[in-house]
């Protein structure tokens, strides 16, 4: 009787697993189809049944898309925004997180910590219009500065680095560094940074992906199409009624490749980045 039950349970679990497997296939399907379409010709795409496997039209599609759209420029633009912003954000966040987690007895520490946590609830839509006006006064419209410098102050990054440093760097290390005569900032660079490297990597991956995918702010800030980042360039390409679907899908695919390479290299850090925000 007991064995029969266990058998039934095993079969039930196997069935569940297969259902989830099918669901996961459904989640991947749009991406898979994007890559299939990118390698097919326009005529093949409109056939029924639609092509299920890769074709050999990718070079023709590339030629077609290169005729109406600079295929590499948006990628270079996105990198020009995402890399400096990420470096700056990680640096600013780690430094603040270090200060907050080490100097807990400093006057005003509690207030500073509270302010940092409060920034997490800051709604970006509230600042959109005044930020745009502010940028136009400074003369930064249609430049990458508004996407890089202001975004480096991230409440999420600071709170995360604060908790991460608090849980990975033992306090005795600070005492030892102090006895050696190391100043606070020097301790950060030479003692703390080497220890928290995995945390820095996780925050960096997460920031890179977020920045790569950002749409609304670049839409407001960037007017000239030669400055467009990947999401903007692809969106404007798809609204021009350019009807060569495989060529558009190839451009889309090219815009996705950098993020997917990054993810395949650093997926562990990426997932660590997701869960670190969760309340423990």
């Amino acid at each position: 009787m007991k064995r029969l039950l266990a058998n039934r349970e095993r079969r039930f679990n196997l069935l569940l697993t297969l259902i989830i497997l099918a669901l996961s296939a459904l989640f991947v399907l749009p991406l898979y189809w994007t890559t299939v379409f990118a390698t097919r010709s326009l005529a093949e795409v409109f056939q029924f049944p639609p092509p299920l496997f890769y074709g050999d039209n990718i070079f023709q599609n590339f030629e077609n898309i290169a005729g109406v759209y600079p295929p590499f420029r948006p990628i270079i633009n996105s990198l020009a925004v995402a890399i400096p912003k990420t470096i700056l954000l990680v640096f600013v966040s780690a430094l603040a997180g270090y200060g907050l987690s080490r100097y807990t007895r400093a006057p005003g520490h509690k207030t500073l910590l509270l302010v940092s946590f409060a920034t997490l609830f800051f709604p970006p839509s509230l600042a959109l219009i005044p930020f745009f006006l502010q940028m136009s006064w400074i003369g930064w419209l249609n430049t990458y500065w508004p996407l890089i410098l202001p975004a480096a102050a991230s409440g999420f990054g600071v709170v995360w680095m604060y908790t991460y440093i608090g849980s990975t760097v033992p306090r005795e290390l600070y005492e030892a560094a102090e006895m050696d005569g190391a100043k606070g900032i020097a301790t950060f660079f030479f003692v703390v940074v080497p220890i928290i490297r995995p945390g820095l990597a996780a925050l960096a991956v997460w920031t890179l992906v977020e920045t790569w995918n950002e749409f609304q702010l670049p839409l407001v800030i960037l007017g000239a199409s030669e400055k467009f980042t990947v999401p903007l360039a692809l969106t404007s390409l798809s609204t021009t009624h350019y009807s060569d679907m495989p060529a558009v899908m190839l451009a889309t695919l090219m815009g996705l490749v950098p993020v997917f390479i990054l993810f395949s290299l650093l997926s562990r850090q990426f997932i660590a980045g997701l869960t670190s925000g969760a309340v423990k």
């Binding site: 679990n13 520490h109 600042a127 309340v279």
Partner: protein, 303 residues
């Protein structure tokens, strides 16, 4: 030593804190706090960005409320926020529980695969979804055409009814994996022996899920629902790209975020836009407070 001297000494000893936090605080004050105050000022003024702002009191706020498109956008936003949050969180929770304790193979694969759509920008995901649902030659119409035998040219993206569910579908597709990871992390913090003890006592699967798993997952659930709500109430990218910036037939998918964008950046009515952003903010605050009250009640119930 006097008190003041000791405080001064304390500040001096800890001065590194202020240096460390300064870059963050200065950037944040300049580019986030200042804009918020400026936005409050804008909300009470009529301004097109060129002449002098004219003080109009609460007119922007009442004008928004009187605009049928604003009210429609409000309704759309509530619909999109509610359904995208409920369905995404529900699906992710189910998947997380199943992957955590029922799945017989591929646990690591399942952890990864649902995350892949999150890497695709919302705007790009909308482009891909458009490819599936365009009226002429879209995959969905090809399929239905093949099944029914007559070619189908149904305009999903132009349909007032279907455009909102498509936006919800897009959110589910992108975000399920993220919520699932949050829940999996929460599930792993539940001690296994609680389950074993319950199973020994003959507690059924559903009772284990509803009486043990869910109550112990409440911190993760709260985090996930609040995050989904912050995104849902401010939703912009998905409906904007899916409707190519039009908001759909008769504004059937215009959200408050899109309304704000249109007033400010197409009509250059910055005052009205600022007022709308304060309505959005009020929505976020209200929902967060409601969640917190619910959270407190559920904690008291658990004790």
């Amino acid at each position: 030593m006097s008190d003041r001297a000791s405080i001064a000494a304390n500040i001096k000893r800890n001065s590194a804190l202020y240096i460390c936090v300064a870059p963050f605080l200065v950037l944040f004050a300049l580019f986030s706090i200042f804009p918020v105050f400026f936005s409050a000022y804008l909300g009470f003024n009529h301004w097109d960005g060129f002449g002098e702002p004219v003080f109009v009191g609460l007119e922007n706020y009442s004008r928004a409320l009187g605009d049928p498109i604003f009210r429609k956008a409000l309704g759309n936003t509530i619909f999109l926020w509610f359904w995208s949050t409920a369905l995404t969180v529900g699906l992710a929770l189910t998947l997380a529980v199943l992957v955590d304790s029922y799945v017989v193979f591929g646990r690591n694969y399942f952890r990864m695969v649902f995350l892949l759509p999150l890497l695709v920008a919302p705007s790009i995901a909308a482009i891909i979804l458009r490819m599936f649902f365009t009226s002429n030659g879209g995959l969905v119409n090809l399929m239905t055409g093949a099944v029914t035998g007559t070619p189908s040219y149904f305009d999903w993206l132009g349909s007032e009814f279907w455009i909102k569910p498509l936006v919800v579908l897009l959110v589910i597709w992108r975000w399920t994996g993220w919520h699932m990871i949050i829940f999996l992390a929460g599930l792993q913090s539940i001690p296994r022996d609680i389950y074993e003890a319950a199973r020994m006592d003959g507690v059924g699967r559903w009772a284990i899920f509803s009486r043990i798993t869910v109550p112990l997952l409440i911190p993760s659930l709260a985090f996930s629902v609040i995050t989904a709500t912050l995104g849902g109430v401010q939703m912009f990218d998905e409906p904007f790209v899916l409707t190519q910036g039009t908001g759909g037939t008769n504004n059937s998918a215009t959200t408050l975020g899109m309304y704000l964008y249109a007033t400010a950046f197409s009509q250059f009515n910055f005052g009205l836009g600022a007022a709308v952003s304060w309505y959005i903010f009020a929505g976020v605050v209200t929902l967060t407070l409601i969640y917190q009250a619910a959270l407190r009640r559920s904690r008291m119930g658990a004790q």
